[in-house]
Amino acid sequence: MTIELQAVGRERLRLWGGLGVAVVVWALLYSLNKPFWDWLLFDWLGLDPQTHLGSAIEFFFYDTLKIALLLTGIIFAVTVLRSFMSVERTRALLGGRREGVGNVAAAGLGVLTPFCSCSAVPGFIGFVAAGVPLGITMSFLIASPMVNEVAIVLLYGLFGWKVAATYVGAGLVLAVLAGWVIGRLRLERHVEPFVFETTLRGQPIDLSAKLSWEDRFAMGREEVASILRKIWPYLVIGIGIGAAIHGWVPEDFFVDAAGPDNPLAVPVAVGIGVPLYSNAAGVLPLVEALHAKGLAMGTVLAFMMSVVALSVPEIVLLRRVLKPRLLVVFVGVVAAGILSVGVLFNLVL
């Protein structure tokens, strides 16, 4: 008995001790990132930070490591926290909510619930078939991809916490309003009929309940590995192009072309952003460099939102459950919302 207890204690020590060590190592790496590259590139290799090449190379290495560290830390933390939530629990929380309050709850839960884009359709069917109103389901489906941890991490790392917070706030408001508008339009008959005919067999299982801390940590590690594996090529290419722009494109290059005074900048940014998808990680370092050369902040945010919230693969998937008219309304309402966010922030920021 005591031996068993000791074994449990050791196991626990290993788990939490390991987490502690990882946090310390992470913090050390993060704080040494800039001094290290400054020392290696400028003092040791003798590059000049004032030259095109010097500043581009420093930008590349410093940014790559910084973003990789931020992604690792935040995806791990978010995944562990999210392991306490599940789509099943979210649906139970949303059932029977009225519009308005329900839209706000759905948008908030969209951020907290672990949800991947390949679950968008089963999720949609599960919500609607269980009686969650269409507009509330839409608030969830919009908030979930848009306010995602990779986007938040990148915005925080590249532009600071104010921009990241603005993005989260704007994303939530947009999800609430767009879902509410879609709900008001009474478009239920434009949902493919089989969705309503789907009978939910059996007891939906809530698998978030019986996980141990060890399971949750393992999920966090796997999620970090799988996301990094998926996005690193985009990240490296994006930071590479960003570094080149950082080094060679003259200051204020975009002030005329895409500054706050150009009304076409936001629509063009959204038009480019919608077809792009998994490149969110690669696109942002590039956009950061463009912003440094005069691209307006609202345009940057609108671009980011259109990249993550609307994508061609997701629209193709949603066609399975939404008839064309509702699909067009969905894309139109979200795109219009993103446009207004961009234009608004260009006016205010």
């Binding site: 599940s86 789509v87 099943e88 649906r91 672990p114 949800f115 991947c116 390949c118 679950s119 359709v121 089963p122 999720g123 069917i125 599960g126 919500f127 078939a129 089989f194 969705v195 789907t198 009978t199 939910l200 067999r201 059996g202 007891q203 939906p204 299982i205 698998l207 999920m219 796997e222 799988s226 998926k230 998937l317 399975r320 459950v321």
Partner: protein, 78 residues
């Protein structure tokens, strides 16, 4: 034993299918493995996050990809 892997064909679904066949090989359990990609059928199991693993019409895992050992334990338990 009848096993179904539910998922529209994302990367995680393929991983789950592969680990399931690994687990079958490791435990020596004999079973048929069927891939279910139809959304209506996936939803009819009450599954909202893919991939999901169904053993003899019982959903045992959903929304994550368990390790081979864990799948093996689920296979031998039922």
């Amino acid at each position: 034993m009848k096993i179904k892997v539910l998922g529209p064909g994302c990367a995680n679904c393929a991983t789950l299918e592969k680990r399931t066949s690994d687990a079958l090989a490791a435990t020596g359990v004999s079973a048929t493995v069927e891939k279910v990609t139809d959304f209506a059928e996936i939803a009819s199991y009450g599954v909202m996050s893919t991939p999901a693993l169904v053993i003899d019409e019982q959903v045992v895992v959903s929304g994550r990809v368990p390790k081979v050992d864990e799948i093996g334990a689920l296979l031998t338990r039922s």
